[in-house]
Symmetry: none
DNA sequence: CATGAATGAGAGTTCATTCAT
DNA sequence: GATGAATGAACTCTCATTCAT
């Protein structure tokens, strides 16, 4: 066999852990304009598939300007992900509205959670962050802290502080919230992330949400009769 | 502003639904050798990040040989994913061993499920398939059918045919299995997919597994007292 | 025998009828510089035999710049051919100068035609267009329209409008011009296209030109005695 | 500007003037079989566009066998062209049949000449030889000697030895034959070589042939009245 | 001798990045 | 500060040629 060069990996230089900040670039408006253009391209083509020329064109600036505001493609990508996770993701967690009963409130939470999980923004972020997790580990941290972590924390806090929380037996609120979160995902999230067809009819979402609540309360509600499983029959 | 052409991104050439086979290369050993090298590179760098030169070097063959066995990078990628999903994934679903009780049996299933979900192979497949879901939709289908779908089906079948299944009230076995699957994932799967640190200590896995079983049975077990939530205290 | 795939040759990608222009590159000077370099290489090696690296080197630009000005090798080739045929070929058809007699005028035309036919530009265009006629049929059309067609038309027009044209009996001026054109070529053109040695001495050219005129007029001149054939004796 | 390497030409190694012969290869049948396959591919794709794999496949032999019979692609190409020009081209020059009159005989010759010039074999040879004239100058020599040269010589010989040749005044038979040859081509040959549409209707061919004869005889026939030009009207 | 898998240089093309204007 | 033409390394893929079987 021919003598093979010693480096076993790929030829590309690994991107150093870049700070999100940038060297120059003064106009916040232009910065935002660039990020908007970048968002469209990164969301559609991913990190590797996006080209700086394309982003510049899409943002309506020259490539030189692009590099005035962001030192490299990696920096721009990080800025884009950070912005989404820091600014847009938290907006998706609305206050938990109180329902008449614990079950009503949780059902509301479940529906919002499912909607959140299957939202285009959330799926896109999930996709690109998972894709580039090895290259940009910081992004995953930020995303997790502002996404699932935050949602779980809010729910956990509510579980201990809700008006009817004395009805609950929740020794580990964070874990209980995790389980609730998981019960809301079922296979919907997994399939949506892989762009496989998903039943998102209101009836099915409702069934999933109410089932999640039922299963959750059967364990975490302090007293009362156990609720039997629900069934789902698609609309005739 | 300069007149910008209308195409915002670059055109990904869609790969036709090619058979995994190829025209000439016939030695199964060399084919396997190439797939091994490709696996290392694709797993580490994803589809776009992997280069054929690098794969060839890593597999110990020339680029020409690579193309003798696989007509294009896309075909090689598909072959790699298909092989993993078709040949390796199903091996991970072992028979469901019967325990003394329903809870024992389910706990065993839960532990295996968690192990499966967090296995490097499963995580890697998840990652690259999610990354390239838009480009290779067929791969997602295959993965889902051989992975989550199959696991869920096996569990659903067991739920209705297990020795003690008369103890269960499972009107929709597939959905119940989905919920069980989801309860096993909690945040472990999500964090692992993003290469974030995960507590995989046996004690924690055990806690997650037993909690999943408890929550599940509190809804789906036909009779008996409700089991209270468990708590987890890390090893001292 | 091994099972042979059905495609016997390779697939030439057909170039869409692209405009000569390009998306970005704007400096006409650099464009011209590139076309000059391309001309040298295409003229020497033909389309397939020329490499973009070589053209870039020869034009004194990088490959990237090449592709800034021309989207592909095919587009560059077309631009080169089009420029030659549209801009340079027509310049070669000078006005037809009036001589003292019809024969004088036609002899002048014949000499210019022979010179044109055997000019390096004309031979090169002929060669590369013939080579790639199947791949770039449009180029052949353009060449013909700006080359032989135009020359023939000009001559045909002159035959009907020349001062002494009442001396001629030309029922089909285009065909007569074609015959005159053909008589000027004899074997000179054919041999030159194949880069075989050709006698281009003024004496021989003169002989060919005068012979062409004589043969032509013996048929198309309305009256007068028939002129006998000429003879050629190489210079001592 | 960046420092450009000194070599201005292309990277490809120029093919040395190879002998037509080959090193080994013993079976004439297999040799012929290979040449047949090569003919199909070279004729369709030209020299550069043909690949040895494709030729081997088309000829029904392995690439190894190909190289047993022909040392290189260049040698194979030369062998193919030589075979065509040496064996097939001469077959196309049939004896010149005597007609009732000189004009009848020449008309017959003219029609055969036009047919020959526009035959697929002749056009293909012309095309590939012109394309590769710079690379394989020997081929052009061989083609010319066996094609145009031979045709012209045969005609020239007939002009001096024909039964009615005393009716002619042909001081330079070779040149007269050349003129006749040229008059038969008009624009038909040029357009056919460029794969442009050509009127090959029998009526038009007849017109061209008879016009050629008329123009020829008006100069080279010793006596008799001058014949006026013909006209052509397409079939209704 | 015939085979066809293996080779590796080189093809056309893209794109992150720089820098003179 | 903004521009976009220029760069050149790296990409995917092809193919003439070799050689172990």
């Amino acid at each position: 066999m021919a003598p093979t060069p010693p480096f076993p990996g790929k030829d590309k230089v690994q991107v150093p852990p870049v700070a999100t900040g940038t060297s120059s670039g003064t106009s916040p408006a232009k910065r935002a304009q660039i990020l908007e253009g970048a968002a469209r391209i990164f969301a559609e083509h991913g990190y590797e598939g996006a080209s700086m020329s394309c982003i510049a064109r899409n943002a309506g600036v020259s490539k030189g300007t692009l590099y005035n505001y962001f030192d490299s493609k990696a920096v721009l990508f990080c800025a884009f992900i950070e912005q989404c996770t820091r600014e847009k993701l938290p907006l998706m967690f609305r206050r938990i509205d109180e329902g008449a009963t614990m079950a009503d409130s949780l059902e509301h939470v479940a529906r919002e959670l499912i909607e959140l999980i299957t939202s285009p923004l959330s799926l896109m972020l999930n996709r690109v962050i998972v894709s580039e997790a090895a290259t940009f580990p910081e992004l995953a941290k930020t995303f997790w802290a502002n996404g699932p972590q935050q949602a779980t924390s809010i729910l956990a806090a509510w579980l201990t502080r809700a008006p009817q929380s004395e009805l609950l037996d929740v020794p580990d609120a964070m874990f209980a919230a995790e389980q609730f979160y998981a019960l809301c995902q079922t296979h919907i999230a997994g399939r949506a992330r892989m762009q496989l067809p998903v039943d998102t009819s209101p009836a099915y979402i409702d069934f999933v949400a109410r089932s999640a609540v039922r299963v959750f309360l059967n364990t975490y509600q302090r007293s009362g009769a156990r609720l039997p499983p629900l069934t789902y029959s698609p609309a005739p």
